[in-house]
Symmetry: C2
């Protein structure tokens, strides 16, 4: 593709983050911050919930997809974008592309729930099915890229996606100026790396922590090992967090994150119920990990102002 | 009790409604209004959801309880308040009393879920258990009233409760000035009668409609008959709407409501799932009736600006 040799592939700097914020602002919801006195009493600290479950397509992913789509050249726009996804990123990319009048090609496993397939088609995405293995997804995506000339937008291992994801935390710091800690779930690391950069550039006094299921504790192990440890295939209810860290994400995370905290499946379910009961918000199990680790480690958060990023609210209601 | 002969027991007038609004304002949440483009497309009209599930104690009931508690005389305050309730009103009254430093006495059936008992005790309520029949609830409440000298605050058949409930619609009209229709669920009729009065005094061009389960269609039948028809004991998932209309509520409703629409259990469940999926809000089945009847009667609402009051979000998460 023209211009591809000029593409910058370096960690976003302060100005890149601010530019992403300005760029996506007209396209994304400024999501609200929720509070609950009862949850504060239970947790022994003051909790602020940044509601990205109320973001377009029900997840923070729309921020990164929008930031990536808005930076395509004219030539790239003509060819569209592509990714493989069975989850929120596919919907986010399809909608961001639709809103900007360009084509999107989404490779999905042939066992993906019909509701997700319908959602992506509803956003005008061209769906190509493949066998439900990572190898098949990657080889099918390669075929689609070759046929269409589309630009691949990786769900997290992409600096434009990371800068886009950072806008959730940037908005949060504007809405809530007293935060001592920011806490996000970690799967591939898009939201966490973006949040790390936000704190680093905008308010380095803020500690950034991450939460993940004990069953898929690859971020915890990767930090300890100093290199990316692939995610184990152990099942978890937090299915958005099954992915291994991306190399670009890990580069940022290992430099800036305070620590990764893990929680059991029972703790995730219990935290999810608390959020449903107390905040009346539908959140994904992945998003409940952040509350679960706060409740599990009260000493770490005692009396602090803790900002929790609720990553999404897309659940199977059947 | 002193002064009881002077107590006004007439339909609230315009000024009474405005006074209730000013009175409760410092004590209640100004709940947000939610929207969803997808739901608008499905419904063929523009829907505004007034989120009283995000009200304190998770239901609009806190408005009426607060309005009633704030109007107690000094003598009455010393004796406290009382009611029988297995639901949201008990919690609302206990918390409103606690916030204002007075005692509350709540009669509950001995088969009430422990979580509801705990919630009321958590708000400082004195709980008295009784057999789970209406007769036992009323006789036990009478005993409590005799012993304590407390003021009975009926959950809906009380003009202060009605004026308090009206503040949800008053707030809604401030937030959304383009509404053609207001729609609430109807059980005992507290929210509906308050909403009728709000439209009548503040904007009589607004049509007020009500929604109820087909299985418990006593409001529909009562309007048709011109007199209160008791609620049948048919089961419904919308358990907040099982009550019969109060006489004060019916007096207002029969004069001002445009109509009552009913929906099946399946339609309630389907609407509730749509709200969970699209708005990411936890709502009670009772609250989902309003969306269910819009989807069932598209011609009535076509292209209108429709305000739906989501009455509460207290569900059993087990």
């Amino acid at each position: 593709m023209t211009g591809s040799v000029h593409v910058k592939d370096t960690v976003p700097n302060h100005q890149d983050l601010l530019d992403a914020y300005t760029r996506v602002k007209p396209f994304v919801h400024r999501t609200p911050v929720f509070k609950s006195e009862t949850l504060d009493q239970i947790a022994g600290c003051t909790l602020y919930f940044k509601c990205e479950n109320l973001q377009k397509v029900g997840a923070f992913k729309y921020r990164g997809a929008t930031n990536a789509v808005l930076q395509l050249s004219e030539t790239e726009r003509a060819c569209g974008v592509a990714t493989h996804s069975s989850g929120n990123h596919g919907q986010a990319l399809a909608k961001a592309a639709q809103v900007n009048g360009i084509a999107s090609n989404i490779v999905m496993p042939n066992n993906a729930p019909q509701v997700k397939v319908d959602a992506i088609k509803g956003y005008g995405g061209n769906v190509t099915f493949c066998e439900p293995t990572l190898a098949a997804r990657e080889s099918t995506l390669k075929k689609v890229l070759d046929q269409t000339g589309a630009v691949e937008i990786h769900p997290y291992n992409n600096y434009k996606i990371i800068a886009g994801a950072s806008t959730a935390a940037q908005e949060f710091l504007e809405q809530q100026t007293n935060l001592d800690i920011l806490l996000t779930p970690v799967g591939g690391g898009g939201l966490l790396s973006g949040t790390c950069l936000t704190a680093h550039y905008l308010n380095p006094n803020i500690e950034v922590w991450a939460a993940e299921p004990k069953n898929v504790n690859d971020a915890f192990l990767s930090l300890k090992a100093g290199k990316i440890i692939p995610a184990p295939s152990t099942p978890t209810i937090a299915d958005g967090l099954k992915t291994s860290l991306g190399s670009r994400n890990f580069k940022i995370i290992k430099e800036h994150v305070y620590g990764v905290l893990t929680c059991t499946e029972e703790e995730i379910i219990s935290a999810m119920k608390l959020i449903w009961q107390r905040l009346k918000l539908v959140v994904e199990p992945s998003s409940a990990t952040v509350l679960a680790v706060v409740l599990k480690n009260p000493a770490l958060f005692h009396d602090k102002n803790v900002g929790l990023i609720i990553s999404g609210g897309n659940i199977d209601t059947s």
